[in-house]
């Protein structure tokens, strides 16, 4: 009998995936199954938290380009 696991399938770039893995490595609270370079399954109730943590992680590494032109 096959097994079914409830979760959220996340598809993203390999770079983003490695950040998610890094976030998860701290407390293992997110990832249910690591499927491949671009896909993983995470816990359903943790999606919003993961998104927030990912945004934080990206803010540290990225400088948003400022808008050109003025009003």
């Amino acid at each position: 009998m096959p097994r079914a696991i409830r979760g959220v399938l996340v598809e993203c770039d390999p770079s983003i995936k490695s950040i998610i893995v890094k976030i998860d490595s701290e407390e293992h609270a997110f990832i249910v199954e690591d499927l491949d370079d671009q896909t993983l399954v995470i816990k359903e109730n943790m999606l919003a938290v993961l998104k927030m943590r990912l945004d934080e992680a990206l803010k540290e590494t990225q400088q948003p380009p400022s808008d050109s032109g003025s009003d």
């Binding site: 079914a4 199954e33 948003p64």
Partner: protein
């Protein structure tokens, strides 16, 4: 498929079979569901040469398609499990079949299409009046949702009733807790950008979900709504034949602007345009707006009023606080003149909108549906090109993609199949019913968005 029908279908699909059996007792419900889904489905099923009568069982020549699986989720058809000896058989469920036949032939004494009032109608209730009334009530609700975002937008006029406010709150369209930038929520923003008919359905579905708390039966509420959808605009109906719970419901519907009860004659009610287009398909959505337009030829609210230039500058010829508030959700507004506001669409303003849950497509569709006639004329002059400047549209999409780092789909991961054969069969079945999202053949795993039918399928495989 329009947004509204998607939302109402998703709700319906989640209902248990017993609920459907009770729903389909009303011919108006059967007809409404039939009407609503007809445009989206393979007509072949309905006019198949074998299906001479509605509940005549027809054998399935091929695997169940996505359309059939939707029909079975709505308990319109019953599909028998495939066995070795007999082919799969599809038949119309008894309750739906007989009710639909009643609805189409007009037989029976079920009063499910409302009873017209015989009393003399109130003279001053005409189509214009009903449209005015419906729009006033509905804009009151929208105003409340928007104005909960920004203080100072708050209007002195009458807002929606306390019951409606409570409903909006319990549906998380607005929140009293003023964290994360005000009282309006992500769901509230998406709600605002929907078309009127989709908004009505969103609110009604919220209402149905809360029906239990208000001591009402959700089946009663649903069948009453479907009945309203089959009524005739501008005609008086009698309230005396309504059941006690329906009378209770109608007071809420008055708050929503779906129904009007003249103060002088309490035993009559008039369905408004919001109610009578409930169960129509997508084309009728526009006729709601068109109907309002006809009633308000001088109201700028419903006409196109937005001009957007290739340099992301936006000019909106409107004085409506509602429209300005909606615009400010995704635009950096800078100046307000007596008859217009101007501003720019910036990366930050779009980011802010996205962080509240508005998608770029919603912004773009809002801009193009409300585009100023000048923009439409310009696009027609260029041989029917795009209405909005393509650079702006592309950039709004790019801004969204920049922020969308991952695509999330909730559902179930299937793994640990005993054999390749079992895996192949299950994955193939999942693909055919349209729920397969991701698969990995080497790992023998796949991910599906819905599990119910697949679970039945796996069980039926075990039995063999």
């Amino acid at each position: 498929m329009s947004v509204s029908s998607l939302a109402s279908f998703e709700y319906l699909e989640g209902l248990p079979g017993t609920t459907f059996r009770r729903l389909y007792l009303q011919p108006s419900t059967a007809l409404a569901i039939f009407r609503r889904m007809l445009p989206h489905l393979d007509l072949e099923l309905w006019v198949h040469p074998n299906s001479k009568s509605f509940d005549h069982a027809l054998t399935l020549p091929r695997q169940p398609t996505e359309a059939l699986s939707l029909l079975s989720r709505l308990h319109i058809v019953h599909i028998t499990a495939r066995t070795r000896d007999e082919p799969q058989v599809v038949s119309l469920t008894k309750a739906f079949g007989s009710s639909l036949r009643l609805a189409l032939t007009g037989g029976g004494d079920h009063q499910s299409f409302g009873v017209p009032s015989n009393d003399s109608t109130t003279a001053d209730v005409d189509l214009n009046f009903l449209d005015d009334y419906a729009q006033m009530q509905w804009e009151g609700i929208l105003h409340f949702v928007v104005s909960s975002a920004g203080e100072g937008m708050r209007q002195g006029g009458q807002g929606p009733t306390a019951a409606v406010k409570q409903l909006l709150e319990s549906g998380h369209l607005v929140t009293r807790a003023r964290h994360s930038g005000g009282g309006i929520t992500q769901a509230g923003f998406s709600f605002l950008l929907q078309e009127a008919n989709a908004q009505v359905w969103t609110l009604l579905l919220l209402w149905i979900k809360n029906a239990k708390e208000m001591e009402m039966d959700s089946v009663d509420v649903l069948s009453f709504l479907f009945m309203l959808g089959s009524l005739e605009l501008g005609r008086a109906y009698s309230t005396t034949t309504l059941t006690a719970s329906q009378k209770q419901m109608i007071t809420y519907l008055v708050d929503f602007g779906l129904v009007y009860i003249p103060p002088s004659t309490k035993n009559q009610f008039f369905p408004t345009r919001l109610a009578t287009t409930l169960t129509s398909d997508a084309t009728a959505l526009r006729s709601v707006a068109a109907g309002f337009n006809a009633a308000h030829t001088n109201a700028s609210a419903m006409k196109g009023f937005i001009i957007i230039e290739t340099n992301y500058r936006l000019y909106a010829y409107t004085t409506s606080p509602l429209q300005i508030a909606v615009l400010s959700l995704f635009t950096k507004l800078t100046t307000r003149y007596p008859n217009m506001v101007s501003g720019r669409i910036t990366r930050e303003s779009i980011y802010r909108a996205i962080s509240h849950g508005i998608t770029s497509d919603q912004v773009i569709s809002y801009l193009s549906t409300h585009a100023h006639p000048q923009l439409l004329k310009a696009s027609a002059a260029h041989g029917g090109g795009p209405v909005l400047p393509p650079t702006v549209v592309d950039q709004i999409r790019l801004w969204q993609i920049e922020n969308e780092r991952m695509k999330a789909t909730s559902g179930f991961l299937f793994l640990e199949f005993e054999s390749q054969k079992e895996y192949d069969a299950c994955a193939k079945y999942a693909d055919e019913i349209g729920v397969l999202v991701w698969r990995s053949d080497p790992k023998r795993m796949f991910f599906v968005s819905r599990v119910e039918q697949l679970r039945d399928y796996i069980k039926s495989r075990k039995i063999k």
